[in-house]
Symmetry: C2
Subunit: 344 residues, 2 copies
DNA sequence: TTGAAAGCGCTAACAA
DNA sequence: TTGTTAGCGCTTTCAA
């Protein structure tokens, strides 16, 4: 690999001049020299050493995509089509804009901070983080950050400073609409399935409660279908939930995957969807279209979410302060065949 | 961010000593100094500057994961569950071994080489490349390379030198088995569906031909269901293929996704799987389990493939020359419900 | 319009 | 056991 220094020597120029040509600081160099340098660069296929450049400029062109891996939920994070699509969108934007993506997956914020600062990442996209995780990152990392799907309350928001943004979804509204659709179809005993009670799923739970309220339906904690996502207890867990589902006419699930898994667990026990149980999912990913019956679900555009987050981050890296601290994308109900209309 | 130099100054030591402690070159430092330095490092939360380290050591701890993006087939590369799972496996291995993953996606080998050398990646995992693409990379990049699913003929193999390995699958055998299963079920008019005639799919095509031969079935080029994967022609394409399928009793598809899409296109035209048409897929990914009917398909373990490739690469980076240039993983038929037994 | 030289933070050969 | 110092390749200030 040839260096600037050698090039300068061979051309009888200084490194400054060569460097200037490389960076198109063409005002300071004579046209003739420019030509000479340019063609020589081509000839020797000069490739800069990014480590050296980064060291000299104190930046990196790296965008850190940080995933907080909750225990064993994400053994293979890409297996979740929502995550996969989103990362695809992020990657595309980063590449288009001439940045590089480095993935930091860890369940330990301290470790994440290590990675990020050791590589001197120019900006961060944070995913799967609760607000206090994100805040801990922010405390130590002063460059631009975009969160995806993190719920941050108005009070702490200020602590994130400028050069911060969250890209989220109207989860509450979406869930509310989905459940309202169920009540409109005559359902009254409606379960709520999730594996946690925080962040996004909490918002969706609130939407669920709201829809019940609107319809004058009492909520009992028994309605909560709590899922434990450890690999080996999954099946037993779904078996239980399928049993439990016999007392309900519908279940709203916080993800398409879970909706599909519930459907299958039910099928194995002779409970048919939608005849015996109506099921609604969330995300509208590939699962919902492939499964039988095709799933009624809340649509969101994961790829766009990722792409947008990355573009906004890059805007910030380039110096523009975002006008708002929160962008809320919208969801929309997609009606397919997993919900049955009950006679009133 | 504090530097080694400052630390040395504050401790009244030299940078060498500090550096030695950091790297555990503890034989050369007195226990007392070690303790002093270690606790100070903790206290100030020292994080090394990787750019500086890389520059000084001429390495990077980066493993480049290179995807050659064929035209518009991979608008969002992660949407393909095979790719997604494989990358998940790669990522996990890289992380576990203390390396970092950088993704380079491009349809241009020259550009890929730029990225790779500008970052001075310690090793490369090449995916979606034909042998001559891989060879072009090898010509310019002398550090360890692992290919995944690249078919390299024995003659050019030597040109890749040591520190090279391909991780592949017994595609031909797998396809042959799958098609043999069809012939055993009494099928004679069996189509072959793919979007290309090279590399992996070519091997599978050969397996398909072999199985036909074994069963004494003539092959005609009409049996080839060629797919054009551009987004907007996909549907029309499948419509056509579904029509064409009326002349066949079975189709072997080179991927689960295509198998599922064919199934749906057929369903839309009143052609039922497996009653009217038997379908076999390849990969055994999530699609095959979610779709209706569940797909009979050749299983392979994408995550393991990726993990293995990364581990082998890291072995090489650490200096060990692999014993062979090719590791061939095995596939296995998974029988579900998409194939019908014909009466003989 | 061009060049000299300092410095980015770290490593490692060599000296003490 | 510890310290001095010369790089690694590039950018950038300042001088010519």
């Amino acid at each position: 690999m040839i260096t600037i220094k050698e090039i300068a020597a061979q051309l009888g120029l200084s490194t400054t001049t060569v460097s200037n040509v490389i960076h198109g600081k063409t005002g300071e160099v004579s046209p003739e020299t420019i030509g000479r340098v340019r063609s020589f660069l081509e000839e020797v296929e000069y490739v800069p050493n990014i480590s050296a450049r980064n060291l000299a400029q104190n930046r990196s062109k790296i965008i850190g995509v940080v995933l907080k891996a909750w225990e064993r939920k994400y053994e293979n994070i890409f297996r979740d089509p929502f995550v996969a699509e989103m990362i695809g969108g992020i990657e595309k934007a980063i590449r288009e804009q001439g940045y590089f993506m480095m993935l930091y997956i860890s369940d330990d914020i301290a470790e994440i901070l290590q990675y990020v600062s050791t590589w001197n990442a120019d900006g961060l996209i944070l995913f799967c983080m609760l607000d206090d995780d994100a805040l801990r990152v922010r405390k130590k990392y002063r460059k631009p950050i975009v969160c995806i799907d993190t719920y941050i309350d108005k009070q702490t928001e200020a602590a994130f400073g400028d050069f911060f943004l969250n890209v989220g979804l109207d989860d509450q509204k979406g869930a509310c609409e989905a459940v309202r659709y169920l009540t409109q179809q005559g359902h009254k005993r409606i379960g709520f399935l999730s594996d946690n009670r925080v962040g996004v799923d909490l918002a969706r739970f609130r939407g669920y409660r709201k829809a019940l309220e609107e319809a004058g339906i009492e909520y009992s904690d028994r309605n909560f279908f709590m899922l434990y996502y450890e690999k080996n207890v999954m099946d037993a867990n779904f078996a239980q939930l399928a049993e439990k589902a016999k007392d309900f006419t519908a279940v709203f699930c916080c993800s398409d995957l879970y909706a599909v898994m519930l459907t299958e667990a039910c099928a194995a026990r002779g409970i048919k969807v939608p005849e015996d149980l109506s099921v609604v999912g969330f995300d509208d990913n590939i699962y919902s279209r492939l499964c039988r019956p095709p799933l009624t679900t809340m649509h969101q555009d994961a790829e766009y979410k990722g792409h947008l987050a990355a573009m906004k981050l890059i805007d910030m890296i380039r110096g523009s302060v975002p006008g708002e601290k929160e962008i809320t994308l919208t969801s929309a109900l997609v009606i397919r065949e997993s919900v049955r209309q009950l006679k009133r």
